[in-house]
Symmetry: C2
Subunit: 248 residues, 2 copies
């Protein structure tokens, strides 16, 4: 399984992804799911992937090596996209191309080749944008009404995002709340696990401000987990006991 | 959809169930999903249902009207069960019987007839027990290692149970934490909704101590939701900002 979330606030973009993959419960590995495409001063694009790993890795290879546009005959690469909308279209086409390259045999394999990707970033002076791209290549875009998107095991980590994130949230608070959301998911779903990759892009910086990996020994993340647990404990203890008795 | 949870602590049993049903997103109704079978001094049994409503309502009818035991020829009713294990078996058979009574046509209807039930209570001097009964009639039992069971939309409300409930938790704290779990679910899944039904059975009381319905105007539940929201907000604000910058 996987859990990734992307948060788009006024100040910029945060992406968080776990690294646990599993082919059955008895075959668990660590794979990077968050890819950065960065050319400082020109663009920063971030891609987080969930679903069938052969499809998503294949799509990343297509994005790097280039994909022929059947209408123009040109070979298009992610690094050369002129806008985030064009780039998101290219990501969608790369997923389809990755599936094509596998040939027809995969259709008979009886496994799911579904994927979902979060794709965000900024190119030039246009504002940062964040998309979720589906297996069919179609995409939806994040808007200020709900300034985050999730892929993979999204339910455990959704309540804190719903309660705490708005478009006006400080970007480092957004990262912090994203890490709490990841912590809740890791606690409840064994197939989502450390280390986690994080990236933070400040609007108009055109250079990642944070690109880090958080492992089990990370002091800040350990402290965040302990503080969050202690605060939740204190929170429910502080609520008075229910008054219901012999009432119908 | 549905969310129900049962919590079995040393002091007794708590059951919580929402009441929202939907046949498609455009057809939402309120139905009681938590049924009590109580004969003070002899037994208290509680049944919470999720899944296909025609199957679960049919199963309750079978439990009340009685189900012939093909081996003994006797008609067995839930109210006459001699132990919680016997009663849980009867609940499983009632689900199968409810499906049989619908005839073969339902198999062609193309909808899911899956159900899951929480069934708990105490009969006589034996300790309280809590089971989850599946469509096939089989059941698992709650044990002190994980002293709760959930059916329906379980993910949003699971983190708080995982963190806060142990077998030694005070029974009214268990009810309170169950209500927080319900609140998290209601906030994130529109198909789980108020009013909610709650029941509390203290060990060896052989009489429900609480059997109540909580609606939108319930002062305690409104206060709990507000306090919980405020505490979560305070909790994440109190965590220091992440230190990650230009690190790889």
């Amino acid at each position: 399984m996987t859990y990734c979330c992307g948060i788009l606030v006024r100040e910029g973009l945060v992406m968080i992804a776990d690294t646990r993959t599993n082919a059955g419960l008895d075959n668990i590995s660590t794979f990077r799911k968050l890819q950065l495409f960065e050319q400082p001063g020109r663009h920063v694009m971030m891609l987080a992937a969930s679903g069938n790993l052969s499809v998503t890795q294949g799509a990343v290879n297509v994005l790097v090596e280039g994909l022929e546009n059947s209408e123009t005959g040109e070979v298009e690469r992610l690094e050369e996209a002129k806008s985030m909308v064009q780039a998101a279209h290219l990501v969608g086409r790369a997923i389809r191309r990755s599936l094509e390259l596998m040939g027809d045999a995969v259709k008979q394999a009886g496994v799911s080749f579904d994927v979902a990707l979060l794709f965000g970033g900024q190119i030039g002076a246009a504002p940062p944008r964040l998309f979720m791209v589906y297996t069919a290549g179609n995409a939806i875009e994040c808007t200020p009404d709900t300034p985050y998107l999730q892929i993979g095991e999204h339910k455990y980590g959704k309540p804190i995002l719903d309660r705490a994130i708005t478009y006006e949230t400080d970007i480092y608070d957004a990262l912090k709340i994203g890490l709490i959301s990841m912590d809740s998911t890791i606690r409840s779903n064994l197939s989502v696990g450390l280390p986690i990759d994080i990236a933070l892009l400040r609007r108009d910086a055109l250079k990642t401000e944070v690109a880090a990996r958080i492992g089990a020994n990370d002091t800040y993340f350990r402290d965040l987990r302990e503080r969050w647990s202690a605060a939740l404990r204190a929170a429910h203890i502080a609520i008075p006991p229910p008054p219901y008795r012999d009432r119908q």
